[in-house]
Symmetry: C2
Subunit: 267 residues, 2 copies
Amino acid sequence: MEIRDAEKQELLAVAHELADVARVETLKYFRLPSLGVANKDANSFDPVTEADRASERAMRDILAKRRPNDGILGEEYGAQEGSSGLTWVLDPIDGTRAYISGTASWGVLIGLDTGNGPVMGIVDQPFTGERFLGGFGKAEWTRGDETRQLKTRQCANLDQAILFTTFPEIGTKAEGAAFRAVSKQCKLTRYGLDCYAYALIGLGMVDLVIEAGLLAYDIQGPMAVVEAAGGIVTNWQGGSAHQGGQILAAGDARLHAQALEILNNSV
Amino acid sequence: MEIRDAEKQELLAVAHELADVARVETLKYFRLPSLGVANKDANSFDPVTEADRASERAMRDILAKRRPNDGILGEEYGAQEGSSGLTWVLDPIDGTRAYISGTASWGVLIGLDTGNGPVMGIVDQPFTGERFLGGFGKAEWTRGDETRQLKTRQCANLDQAILFTTFPEIGTKAEGAAFRAVSKQCKLTRYGLDCYAYALIGLGMVDLVIEAGLLAYDIQGPMAVVEAAGGIVTNWQGGSAHQGGQILAAGDARLHAQALEILNNSV
């Protein structure tokens, strides 16, 4: 779909407004000793905090006023149909496990989806005050008054690559084996960053992120940032990643091709 | 050894001065695209950056002026004997892999050792601007103008505990198996934080850190912080941890005892 320049400016302004309110709500509860954690799934540890919910509600309130015809897909409060063809894909706290542990690697994720994937998105880290934005001609990192252009770095071969993922287990057994087949060829593998790892691809500090079992709201914000910075995000078959699932994100197309071949041969 | 109150104040001031200069030097190079990384060990990836060296040199320059009779043990420039009975144990960048990846979980570590372990120490995270200090009656987190008392939280049982370690491999095969024996009883296990995980025990956000293969300069700063905040740091046999090796750090003594029993039975 075609989006006029004036509307792009409005959408960028709304995206910043969403990230601003989410930053306030998530920081209210961050590192509070009394932080309540409920289990969504009785069989596994899946913390959903009050901060998660407050952050998404604050974003939905803004969208109701500013963009009433757009759809919304949020982690906590589900899908709401729109008529404009645009959907805001929201993860109020990506990395709730990181959040409840007090680390600075969780993030607020905002993606603007046309149905074929995100055309603009934000990864915001409220505690460090960093915002990574990509789309509508922008690829930028901001922190207070500082601004920096996002640009992925060149990395021609896996043996020079830094690879990140969140959990060493990586989904199913077969998915874990596929991940390790790539990992053992990389220079360095690190764990535990959630969405922040994608942001570091955009900054040109990290080369690859491989994950499995993601949902649309986990990937659309990061995907917009990585793509705007010059990187590639697909699923493990090289197809579209915006619905989630198995994710392969790379800063350099050559690296993406190498990792894709290994993942494809492994699962 | 006995340290007079006036000297304690001087030592605290020197420790802050060390952390201040290390913060400047490490941030100069952080996230620079041109960051040079050399391999100390040809067989494995062990990045030593110019930032590491500049940070330690700056701290040694201060000690030469302010505390010429104290010893120094630093990661990059080795041991220097002193005559005072006190040794500054310095890790100019703990978590160089995190540092070269652009994450905010590395730290500058400063420990003041009497020979029997650290009586005061600092974990400083320059990018977030956080400083964790413990010893000489202090246990505090500071960030800009903000101050907070460090205090570990209560956690009576492993099934309620959040456990951190840096690498999922954890040293040798036997050490890895011992770690996993504890991990599978915990509520949540996370990876990749280096020294920052100990700092989060001090903040009361994390309950356990288990690592192997540490050196004295990796643990003395974090150990002082955790102990000052009410936690316990030993090796996997319950003995002294200040020389490094296998490390078990806990915020609650009951949890420490439970983890110790498992680790002892496993290796």
